[in-house]
Symmetry: C2
Subunit: 109 residues, 2 copies
């Protein structure tokens, strides 16, 4: 994973934080990869960053040009399948926040 | 780490993404813990979430009541010492984005 090369603000960030369920969480990694690939093909997608620690707590931030592009991705049929699997099997709990990026600053890119 | 119990929006999120330097990054863990403790004592602090994977890529999101509280934390003298160490030693690269949370949604909390 690398730092997303996003354009100058303003744009939107969807902050998704989650605690994995106990168990083997079969299929999660493959689905995650597929969703990143699919998201990156959507109109308005600007980038994604993701990290998960050994305790099963993870953060994924995806960046979007508009609220409309976020809404379209939320309602994408294949993404909805993944969301349902996530709620039913993979995530013990999660939080999702939609925010508008107003300022950014990068070092070392 | 757990999902931050933030209030209803609007509030602010500071999204800090970083790639650790190679090497032993001595003192990083202790400084990180100290900064979380210190941040949580600041006016306007609403919560923090953090994850770092085995590849050294990490995301920390801190939540704040106002832009003024973010600015005050940025300029806190002990935080500035940590920032300087981070730039000089611990981080190969990082990105920092200040965003305004407009919508949130939680499952399983």
């Amino acid at each position: 994973m690398t730092i997303a090369r996003t354009p100058e603000p303003p744009y939107y960030a969807v902050i998704f934080t989650s605690q994995m369920s106990d168990g083997d969480n079969k299929g999660y990694g493959a689905m995650g990869d597929k969703m990143v690939e699919l998201a990156s093909q959507q109109e308005g997608f600007l980038g994604v960053e993701s990290a998960r620690g050994g305790d099963g707590f993870g953060i994924t931030v995806s960046y979007w040009a508009s609220l409309e592009s976020i809404e379209a991705w939320k309602n994408h049929s294949l993404h909805k399948v993944a969301q349902d699997k996530g709620k039913a099997e993979w995530y013990q709990q999660f939080g999702l926040r939609v925010s508008k990026v107003e300022r950014s600053h990068f070092i070392g890119l």
